[in-house]
Symmetry: C2
Subunit: 340 residues, 2 copies
DNA sequence: ATGAAAGCGCTAACAA
DNA sequence: TTGTTAGCGCTTTCAT
């Protein structure tokens, strides 16, 4: 009977018709997909593991772009896309074990995420997007170091030497406030770590003492976080001329805070972001654009293409510095270095 | 051994430890989720069927809000959310048959969608969101008739009697252009049909001959579609004083077209939308706000709560007319009805 | 061209 | 408390 459904060419059309008709009459709902999956060893779906609550993915414009690309790749391959219900709060790893999928895309999680550990125990292929960087796994992401260095170069070229930094969470535990150099070095979120490290390198080279640079961390990735972090950075060092943010959301929040304080951007304060989300472009933010859709698609393709597990593949995506309207030379008072 | 993984309390900790350790040493990756699903008759995931290409869902702000709500409900229940790769172009229904899920949420599809038919053959619960309205299935959605009637009342109250309408696709086949009354009546997308019918009723009651009202249909749901449809409506009847759009996207496109033509809104032309997406609020569009997130959550909850299949449940969501800055009284030349 | 049967890996019920 | 076994529904191989 299986043939009647799956191999129409293996039997006479007449018999096939008769079989199908009888099946319908008996109330047979068609082959059970789970039983089929067990037999064929193919679930027909890709699992997606996210850092955040599932629903957060739909609130973050970058993540939405990534999802669109991933969905595109799955659709092309006729594969389903299963969102794994794994919130960071409940350490309930069972959802990962329970998921009937042929592989996992892991999107931007910390290196010590228990869900990631659970994923790696499953005997299916895994592709990591953004973080963590693990040499034995396929990986897709931008060159964060180089991308943020372009921002640093841009600011240094403009003359900024006294800066503040706003960054996203550095580790699984909540820490809303300044991040010590120690904490920066121990960050379990590789992306943030790479960006901070590269910033430190560039600004150190330009003569800035990194230990004096306020680096303000926020756990939640929201406009409010950006605003309050900006306030905190300005409180720690009111003399800063530029605020470097490791995401557009934080930068847009900082922009709001600057406006509230009556600071002109970029005359009184330069603000830069990272990501290139639509809202950032609309606001004219100086930022780094990364190809979100392409990132998702690349991750999906990598997972769905068969590969030799022996040699992990790494795909590095191009980024682009967008010099917007929120960056300019520092306040004139700070320009004495350039005096005649 | 199953007990070691699933029923830690049913055996001595010592034995459990020994079993697990041996399993690991033998390279056992843990229970196979598919086999477990076959045995327990639970896939642990909800399937989502969409009208459009999977990736479209992430480009439509309303759909994103809906997805967020649905994801929220799934997460609360510890269930996965599987996006079914069912594009409207390829009539490939196999993806529906292949999906290992415990139920389906069907989001806004036409009544004659073959994927919907395939879903209904599966012996699992189904919840429909928005459309089609089938009395034997659970349903979640707004009261489209009442909502659009609020818009109609608003416009009639302002004095508009000569209007044009921009609507989304009415059937599965592409038709970019005017929709005859016949086509309106035969629409297989219930939402559009309900909105058009209710508009016709209200404006007829106000003395408007509906057969003279240009109703312009667009297959794609984009700003460009809205703009070109607006142009077409104005070409058919340059005397219209208001453009009623059945979605915000179309309305925002119409707004763009009006600007391009040098028409002042609302002085020269009133434009209204439907949906209440963020961009619409930003633009000050007169529109109907519907609770997207709540809609998704309600759909998820309905599916995950056990129910008696005998009596289908219907959840009708509240909508709210937002009188924005894009609607006003008609051009003075049209106001002779109100003369002193 | 058609029918019969083994077995995918698990869980749950039962036996010891 | 521990071990054994039937069978979930399918696909695939093999026998007719």
């Amino acid at each position: 009977m299986s043939n009647a459904y799956n191999r129409p060419d293996q039997l006479s059309p007449e018999l096939r018709k008769r079989v199908l008709e009888t099946a319908r009459r008996l109330g047979y709902p068609g082959p059970d997909p789970v039983a089929r999956s067990l037999r064929t060893r193919k679930a027909g779906a890709v699992g997606l593991l996210l850092t955040e609550n599932l629903s957060y993915a739909f609130r973050d414009p970058g993540a939405v772009g990534f999802l669109e690309g991933l969905a595109l790749a799955c659709e092309d391959a006729g594969q389903g896309l299963t969102l794994i219900p794994a919130s960071p709060e409940r350490e309930d790893v069972a959802a990962v074990h329970r998921a009937g999928v042929d592989g996992f895309v892991v999107y931007s999680v910390p290196e010590d995420d228990p869900h990631l550990a659970a994923v790696m125990e499953r005997p299916v292929p895994v592709v990591v997007c953004d973080q963590p960087r693990l040499d034995n796994l396929d990986w897709v992401g931008p060159d964060d170091r180089q991308a943020i260095k372009a921002v640093a170069g841009h600011l240094i070229g403009l003359g900024h030497r006294r800066i503040g930094v706003l960054c996203m969470r550095l580790a699984r535990g909540r820490n809303d406030g300044p991040a010590t150099v120690q904490r920066q070095a121990n960050a379990s979120f590789h992306v943030q770590k790479a960006r901070l490290t590269a910033l430190a390198e560039e600004f150190s080279e330009a003569g800035v003492d990194w230990t004096t640079v306020p680096v303000v961390e926020r756990f939640d990735h929201t406009l409010d976080s950006g605003a309050s972090a900006a306030a905190q950075a300005l409180e720690i060092d009111p003399e800063i001329t530029a605020l470097v943010c490791t995401s557009d959301i934080l930068a847009l929040g900082a922009l709001r805070e600057a406006q509230n304080r009556g600071l002109r951007v970029p005359e009184d304060l330069t603000i830069t972001g990272f990501d290139g989300i639509p809202d950032a472009e609309r606001a004219g933010l100086t930022t780094v654009r990364q190809p979100w859709l392409e990132k998702g698609r690349a991750a999906g393709r990598l997972l769905l293409e068969t590969s030799e597990p022996s040699r992990p593949r790494h795909i590095q995506l191009e980024t682009q510095l967008i010099a917007g309207a929120t960056s300019g030379p520092p306040r004139s008072g700070e320009e004495f270095w350039f005096g005649p």
